[in-house]
């Protein structure tokens, strides 16, 4: 037979039926012609032909595949059986879909953040070159991925041997367009071999190469390449020509080409709009760590060999590139740095660093949810199997083979599993996109192509298959093992044997235990987020906006910049609705940090340094504990003064009166060693990150900033809503200084964005915790209800001989209580062990926080007890006559 016929056998059967009809017609006609009556003629024709139905069936079977047919039959039967109990089917399919969907979604995220290689040819040859242990906070680090300085890069290029090609790159926030109409864009700045080494080919035009990189800064050679996305959305996908120009910070660039779709650079989770070539500055800063270096290993070289070679050339390289202007200690530290090569196949990723442990934790959480869902299903299936024992016994008795019945029960689970898995995959598709969307904030747009690839599908299929086996086979084996006679005669009348429930009891206990772990985890993360969200950083957050003002195009000479900044601050201060404003060199709580080595009365250490205008402390609502604040008499030429925080005083001055003490900063390029007199003390406030302990901090007057730059951040305190203050400040600056580029962000909103990880963990773990608890409650309810059903007769007799309601309830609740106590004890132990894995993700509480664990235990115990109480109450209301009559 052919598959074509198999698939079309119904059509084929209809053909045969027509053919047989045509035979009968012809035969009847002949018989009529021989003179029979119509009835006789038809009867004779049928006699001659035989049984048409049998003939058709014979042909139909010739077109069939035996096992496939019975499998189909099993499936159809299974579907019919499941339709009879829609509640069971819905609970089973939904919990499976949620379990599988959540697992697949988290795995997909993990896969695209962590496991997947860069979409370039031979990504396994890529390696990243970094300083072992990082630069220890030396110099200026610029950007998330910045590891090395330009002079280091040049030295490495000249002396390395392990790489056939190398490239360096950095990220840059660009503004594209003219003046106030310019828009922010993500830029990458790349060395000449960037695209060549990555083997990326142009989509249009050409990509940047060695000839593009030698122009003088800032505009370089004025060549640029745009990403496919930018080209499509902003440039309208027009063919690039020599006239295709974009303006970046006032300089015109020619767009020479477009990168192919799907190429996002080497930072996973981020994308770029424009790629610019490196430019040649007037001098290469040796303390400016602003680039990342990667390379392609030379054929035959391993990562280790390349690393060893880099290590051997390190002393020479660092000796030749030591920054000048540093203290001898710092210079010595620098000269001892070592280079090494690290795997670069999956690029670099800030997203990976931030969310790696969260994602693994979430994956284990969703794994546990799936486990509970499976246990629940197994329980449901077990209960069903025992209820259907009589049916199965009858089947066995009239000759069904054990294998046939197993297959039928398995088909039911297979059907549930595959429907659940299909729904789960659909759910994961939605869920992973929602999650990627949730990872993006205003300041950080996450670009993460999440595709359902075969690995993820395989993963889901394996999970579904495993589920199917777990909850399908066990009840099936148990169901067929019973002796038909025993089951049929004893069926419901005996008091149920204890042994029969043991597996269900184990399942319920483990369900309660695991859901307690998840619930406790959810409580931890929710409380952690709550702690963080309501944590008082010691300064004002609400009503604060940060205005970033760039006045490069005002062409203010350096010595006039301090005055110009003061003018800008005054403009902002007098804007309607603004209550106060102050400039600062470092915006707190948003990740930025500035450190100097200090020497305080002989004690050496370091301190954070921020140069602010006099109104800073009032603007930020920071009180002064002692001494005086800054005022207009603190100028560039007056004595250098500083205000320090309590931690500074505690660490460096102890019980001494800090006022009047002096500190000397350690020399750094552009920051010569300076003596500051401490004139005031403020309480501790958080510095770069809410989560981190307060470091020693020093503030100095903005006018005494050693290196005045053509930009500033202004903290704005206002009574206006965020969008209004942004518009008002922008308008005021544009009126007075149209050439100044202004960007305003909502301070509080940005701080909240920084809590994204905690918020996501709280929401997701909360969701899964509640889900797990619901499943456990359903399991508890199911098992107690089942026990009640099985012991109906026993309960009936007890009631008949005088047991009171309370006694019946007590009897059932005792059963439930044992399960509950066991589950909670095991769960609490597990939760304690598991919480340790989450330590690094928690804020403001310990992983073994007794209140959290106790609360989770109490909540779960209460609802589970309630779930058990309902069926036990029903048991006590049984009419003994009814139950006994049933038999």
């Amino acid at each position: 037979m052919s598959w074509r016929r198999f698939l079309q056998r119904d059509r084929w059967d209809r053909e045969r039926a027509m053919e047989i009809a045509s035979y009968l017609e012809a035969e009847t006609a002949e018989n009529l012609a021989r003179g029979m009556t119509p009835a006789e003629a038809a009867a004779a024709a049928h006699r001659k032909f035989g049984n048409p139905l049998l003939i058709r069936e014979e042909i139909y079977l010739m077109n069939s595949v035996g096992w496939l047919d019975s499998a189909w039959q099993d499936l159809r039967y299974a579907a019919r059986v499941l339709r009879l109990s829609p509640g069971f089917a819905a609970v089973a399919i939904l919990s499976l879909a949620l379990g599988i969907g959540a697992n697949t979604a988290i795995f997909q995220l993990l896969d695209s953040v962590r496991l997947r290689s860069l979409p370039v040819p031979h990504p396994e040859e890529l390696a990243e070159v970094r300083i072992v242990g990082g630069n220890r906070g030396m110099g200026v680090s610029d950007g998330r991925y910045a590891q090395l300085t330009m002079p280091l890069w040049q030295a490495i290029q000249a002396r390395q041997q392990g790489f056939s090609s190398m490239f360096a790159w950095s990220q840059d926030d660009l503004r594209i367009g003219h003046g106030a109409e310019s828009r922010p864009a993500n830029g990458i700045v790349v060395s000449g071999d960037f695209f060549k080494a990555l083997s990326v080919y142009p989509w249009r035009g050409r990509l940047l190469s060695q000839e593009d990189v030698d122009g003088p800064c800032p505009a370089g050679t004025g060549h640029a390449v745009v990403s496919y996305g930018y080209w499509q959305t902003v440039m309208g996908g027009r063919e690039p020509s020599p006239d295709t120009k974009i303006e970046i910070y006032g300089d015109p660039y020619e767009v020479v080409g477009v990168t192919p779709p799907g190429f996002f650079g080497v930072a996973v989770g981020e994308s770029f709009d424009v790629a610019l070539p490196f430019c040649r500055p007037s001098e290469y800063r040796r303390d400016h760590f602003n680039i990342a270096v990667m390379g392609r290993l030379r054929p035959g070289w391993t990562l280790n060999q390349a690393s060893t070679q880099l290590d051997s050339i390190s002393p020479g390289i660092f000796a030749d590139t030591t920054p000048v202007g540093y203290s001898s200690n710092w210079a010595e530290t620098f000269r001892k740095f070592r280079l090494a090569a690290y795997p670069g196949a999956s690029g670099v990723s800030w997203l990976r660093q931030t969310y790696d442990s969260s994602l693994w934790l979430l994956l284990s959480i969703t794994g546990l949810v799936l486990l509970i869902a499976c246990a629940n299903l197994a329980n449901l299936m077990l209960a069903r199997a025992s209820v259907r024992q009589q049916e199965i016994s009858v089947r066995l008795a009239i000759g069904a083979s054990r294998g046939r019945i197993m297959r039928q029960l398995l088909s039911e689970s297979a059907l549930l599993a595959s429907v659940g898995a299909a729904l789960g995959v659909a759910l994961s598709w939605i869920l992973s996109r929602v999650l990627v969307g949730a990872l993006s904030t205003e300041g950080d747009v996450v670009y993460l192509p999440v595709e359902t690839d075969w690995r993820v599908l395989l993963f889901a299929a394996a999970v579904a298959g495993l589920t199917c086996v777990v909850f399908g086979v066990v009840p099936a084996i148990r169901a067929t093992r019973t002796e038909p006679m025993a089951a049929m005669s004893g069926g419901r009348s005996s008091t149920a044997r204890r042994e029969r429930f043991s597996l269900q009891r184990v399942l319920v206990v483990s369900q309660i235990a695991i859901s307690l772990v998840l619930l406790a985890g959810a409580f931890l993360f929710v409380r952690s987020f709550y702690n963080l969200a309501f944590f008082d950083p010691g300064m004002r957050k609400a009503g604060i906006a940060v205005a970033f003002l760039g006045f490069q195009q005002s062409r203010i000479p350096e010595e006039r910049r301090a005055d110009f900044k003061r003018e800008l601050v005054e403009e902002v201060q007098t804007t309607p609705g603004v209550l106060n404003a102050a400039s600062t060199t470092n915006v707190p709580l948003l990740g930025a940090s500035w450190t100097h080595g200090v020497d305080i009365e002989g004690k050496k250490g370091d301190s954070k340094f921020t140069w602010v205008s006099p109104s800073y402390f009032e603007t930020m609502g920071i009180p002064r504990l002692s001494g005086r604040g800054f005022d207009r008499n603190d100028t560039a030429s007056s004595a250098h003064v500083a205000i320090v925080n309590e931690t500074f005083v505690r660490r460096y001055l102890g019980a001494m009166n800090p006022i009047g003490k002096t500190m000397r900063t350690v020399a750094e390029p552009d920051y010569p060693s300076t003596v500051y007199e401490i004139i005031g003390v403020i309480p501790d406030t958080r510095y770069a990150d809410l989560r981190h302990d307060t470091p020693p901090m020093a503030f100095a007057p903005d006018t005494q900033y050693p290196k005045q730059r053509p930009w500033t951040a202004i903290m704005v305190y206002s009574s206006l809503p965020a969008p209004a203050v942004s518009a008002a400040v922008k308008q005021r600056i544009a009126e007075k200084h149209p050439e100044v580029i202004t960007e305003v962000i909502d301070f509080d909103a940005r701080i909240k964005d920084g809590m994204l990880r905690e918020r996501l963990m709280a929401i997701l773990s909360g969701f899964f915790g509640v889900l797990a608890a619901l499943l456990a409650i359903a399991g508890m309810y199911g098992v107690i209800a089942y026990i009640v059903t099985r012991r109906q007769r026993e309960i009936g007799i007890r009631v008949a001989v005088g047991a009171r309601r309370g006694q019946v309830v007590g009897m059932i609740m005792r059963e439930a209580g044992i399960l509950l106590v066991l589950g909670v004890v095991v769960g609490a132990a597990l939760a304690l062990a598991a919480a340790r894995a989450a330590t690094s993700l928690l804020f403001g509480l310990e992983p073994y926080d007794p209140l959290t664990l106790g609360g989770a235990c109490a909540l779960l115990a209460a609802v589970a007890a309630l779930a058990a109480y309902v069926p036990s109450l029903r048991a006590s209301r049984l009419d003994p006559m009814d139950t006994l009559r049933c038999e």
Binding site: E15, S22, Y23, K48, F49, I55
Partner: protein, 117 residues
């Protein structure tokens, strides 16, 4: 695959015979089921009396093997009927089967009536 498993060798023998008869009937030209049944019945002078219906599984089998092909046509008295015709492989098969049959008949005859040889 899908062939009905007959226990008795006799049926197998008869089945092979029926196939041969059908192929032979179709040798002169296409015919529909009703005609084939009657032709076989008449040619055998009513000795091979089988239910005409049993012809159809045989036709299906032969078509499945590609020895005959079928098409819908109009019968001599203007009725729709399914016609069968011999394919090239079928024609080859007919000669193979015929000579095999001849050999068997000769062999059986030699056993049954040794004196006549």
């Amino acid at each position: 695959m899908g062939r009905k498993r007959n226990a008795a060798g006799e049926t197998e023998f008869l089945q092979g015979t029926l196939d041969l008869l059908i192929l032979q009937t179709l040798a002169p030209g296409p015919a529909h089921g009703h005609t084939i049944a009657h032709v076989i019945e008449h040619r055998s002078e009513d000795i091979l009396q089988v239910e005409h219906g049993s012809l159809y599984p045989a036709l299906h089998r032969l078509e499945d093997r590609g020895w005959i092909a079928s098409f819908w046509g109009t019968s001599e008295n203007n009725r729709k009927a399914r016609y069968y015709r011999l394919t090239a492989t079928g024609r080859k098969q007919l000669s193979v089967e015929t000579s095999r049959w001849d050999r068997i008949v000769r062999a059986v005859n030699r056993v049954l009536r040794p004196a006549e040889d």
